[in-house]
């Protein structure tokens, strides 16, 4: 099984059905897997904070949801985390494909990536970086279970070590 199959299985085992997202290249196998499986309800949002709002509403309505985004998408949601997920105690699962590290070719991505972990830490929000297929299912599974049990959002950061990341073809 590929890393994306294993990851989607973990979501399934934890009853995470709604997948809201703004596309990202590295997320493609996850998004394709979600689209090909009737278990999931994929919804493409126009902004990541919109996707966060949807996942929050779905949770309150009894449907577990996650939000998939790239690092720059994370840059658009600190307000939604700080004024919705955290104070209202909503365990949304945020899945971030990590750009800006390990061979990044776009300096804008590098800058915004530097804001991600400090923001998560400032909000005292749990976050885990998934780096290899062996430990990934355990970490993802336990992180989701803890989020739900403690009614707190969690971020799962998909490292290029796991996904391969995105590299510039024909680099100068």
């Amino acid at each position: 099984m590929t890393w994306s199959d294993v990851f989607l299985n973990t979501l399934k085992e934890n009853g995470v059905r709604l997948v809201t997202y703004v596309p990202d290249n590295v997320l493609t196998p996850l998004l394709d897997g979600v689209a090909a499986d009737n278990y999931f309800m994929p919804v493409c949002a126009t902004r990541e904070d919109e996707a966060v709002g949807m996942a929050a509403g779905a949770w309150m309505g009894g449907l577990r949801g996650c939000v998939m985004m790239q690092t720059s998408g994370f840059g658009t949601i600190p307000n939604a985390i700080a004024s919705l997920l955290v104070p209202y105690q909503i365990p949304a699962i945020l899945i971030v494909s990590e750009r800006g590290a390990l061979g990044e070719f776009n300096s804008g991505q590098v800058m915004v990536a530097r804001t991600m972990r400090p923001v998560l830490d400032a909000l005292a929000m749990a976050h885990h970086t998934l780096t290899d297929e062996k430990t990934m299912p355990f970490i993802a599974d336990r992180a989701i279970k803890q989020a739900v049990a403690t009614q707190s959002p969690v971020a799962l950061i998909l490292s290029p070590l796991l996904t391969g990341g995105k590299v510039l073809k024909n680099a100068p």
């Binding site: 493409c44 949002a45 902004r47 904070d49 309505g61 307000n79 919705l84 209202y88 105690q89």
Partner: protein, 195 residues
């Protein structure tokens, strides 16, 4: 011109099936609170612009329940893309109500784009929400609320309202608001503490 508090009371009076109401930041949720708390009310104390996405999430989770998003013009202008998302998904059970006073009233009455220029109903129609209409007056608003499921898709009702501020303020306890809302939707944790 119509009045937000009055329209909100009219809306609440018509809700007889435990419909969920998600009300946006500021005056919009304050006037919902003032209209009389219901277990299915959700009051937003931040996250400007997310009333419609939150309501969409509830509508997806509970397709048999009517869900209403109450939002101000300034707030919907912040997140117009969500209208396209909603138009694509076509949740039959979702209704959006825009209280358009042409200002960011709660931050000091600064004019919004809808004051003289932008037309929210046309924007929503252009986004693909066919059932988008301006309420002409209170009676028409009542009719539109009663007929909101007739389009077979999501509907949007916008009303030009006066400049009266909300008549009170919501209790600012987000964890309590969320917990009570979930109880109202039948998704709360339940147990002895609920007694």
């Amino acid at each position: 011109m119509m009045n937000r508090g009055d329209l909100t009371k009219r809306l609440v009076a018509k809700l007889t099936h435990d419909e969920a109401v998600v009300a946006g930041i500021g005056n919009t949720n304050f006037d919902l609170y003032v209209a009389g708390h219901r277990p299915q009310n959700f009051y937003m104390l931040g996250s400007m612009g997310l009333a419609c996405p939150i309501a969409l999430g509830v509508a997806l989770a509970q397709p048999e329940r009517g869900v209403i998003a109450l939002e101000g013009d300034g707030s919907i202008l912040m997140n117009l893309g969500c209208l396209g998302t909603i138009a694509q998904i076509k949740p039959r059970n979702l209704t959006i109500i825009i209280m358009d006073n042409g200002t960011y009233q709660i931050t000091g009455n600064q004019p919004t784009a809808t004051k003289e220029t932008s037309d929210i109903v046309k924007i929503a129609q252009g986004a693909g929400i066919g059932g988008s209409v301006w309420a002409r007056d209170e009676k028409h608003f009542d009719e539109l609320i009663a007929r909101r499921f007739e389009y077979g898709g999501p509907s949007l009702i916008a009303a030009k309202i006066d400049d009266k501020p909300a008549a009170g303020q919501t209790v600012r306890d987000p964890a309590l608001i969320r917990s009570r809302f979930m109880r109202g939707l039948g998704t709360g944790r339940g147990g002895a503490l609920d007694a």
